[in-house]
Symmetry: C2
Subunit: 230 residues, 2 copies
């Protein structure tokens, strides 16, 4: 049995949830308020971040990129045609490059600041880093998303999916981060039609259903968040 410690609007947690759903892996979800730095949780992940995947009888696997490598190593071969990671080293590098583009760069420039300012800070005490949202940081993030959307649009005009001819970790990483920003209504969908069409395809997958059903108390999703025809 797998257990995932996560936060519903954390883009990294969402990426792992999508992968688990694509592979049909039944997983117990535990919502971890990581900002409380619970002692038992810090024993699983001394860095104190979500997501953390725990497989019964195994040491905890912390951190999004470590979890997806672990899932490929333990479940990838069994997934056959549905495997989300190519087997050629060069193609793997390209999938990792794009997954890192969203998990690291997009997160630093867009999804991290927006989710932190608009969601996590609502629940944190002053000591934990809470307080009113930093509107400057949100403004910069809303500006930055435009060039990322253009990059997605540019990629999918030459390839079926972000990293090539097949759905991969790269698409799920990108869609996970965008979905968190879309929940908040901060994706300028009219900017790039190719990017929107790509997201519509990913969003329509059964693996996305649970994510589209997420609602955070006191913060309803944007109007078209769960709409497949947005």
């Amino acid at each position: 049995m797998l257990t995932l410690f996560h936060q519903p609007l954390c883009p990294h947690s969402r990426f792992v949830r999508l992968v688990l759903a694509e592979y049909g892996l039944a997983t117990r979800l535990v919502e971890e308020k990581f900002w409380e730095r619970r002692e038992e949780f810090l024993m699983l992940n001394p860095a104190g971040t979500v997501p953390v995947l725990v497989e019964e009888g195994q040491p905890a696997v912390p951190g999004v990129s470590i979890v997806i490598e672990y899932l490929d190593e333990t479940r990838g071969a069994d997934a056959g045609d549905r495997r989300l990671f190519p087997t050629d080293a060069g193609e793997r590098a390209e999938v990792r490059r794009l997954a890192s583009w969203f998990n690291d760069k997009f997160h630093a420039e867009v999804s991290g600041p927006l989710v932190n300012e608009r969601v996590f800070k609502r629940y944190m005490t002053r000591e934990q880093g809470g307080g009113p949202p930093d509107t400057d940081s949100m403004r910069v993030a809303r500006h930055n998303i435009r060039y990322h959307l253009a990059y997605i649009g540019w990629l999918v005009q030459t390839r079926d999916w972000l990293a090539g001819e097949r759905l991969s970790y790269a698409d799920l990483a990108a869609a996970a981060h965008i979905s968190a920003v879309d929940y908040l209504g901060d994706v300028p969908w009219n900017d790039d039609e190719a990017a929107r069409n790509w997201y519509a395809r990913v969003k329509s997958r059964p693996s996305f259903r649970a994510i589209l059903a997420d609602t955070v108390a006191g913060l309803p999703p944007s109007k078209n968040y769960a709409n497949l025809d947005f």
Copy 2:
């Protein structure tokens, strides 16, 4: 033939250089002033960061964690006993966790700010982000290093090497980041004897020689930087 685009004091570049040296892979080193955002370089890595590894006839492999995964996939099996990454999925997760601890967390809290403020900013124009060092950011980094050294000390009191009984990527990642900070004279070696003994062991390896010979124009290394008995 391999080519590595790097910066001498960039800790991520140093980690890759150590791995290449451990595996005895002859590599052409190209010093890339990544802050100039050279167009040809951005074609290799749109994120504009070092290190980037280029293998003749293959697409470029950008980013430290992607490079080390690529080197394991293409060179790991041939390395036999000297392989720097275990084969068991759980043990790989632990090596990745620690490599990420240094490449991401230590870099964000210690080596990134120190190298950026004290080294890279010297070469950048105002527009590129240059200017006088931010002493607040340096002070925080010098404070943060103490708990990281204690963490290393704690790990090597229960294990031979950081991730277990064998030298791994985890040790080389940690040592690479520490070596950059040590060049600047900002490692409080008297704080933790176990951490110092571990670093002395890594520093004595032949793979470290080229790194200890690095000198940056106008910024000589700290007194004991290349001293194996520090």
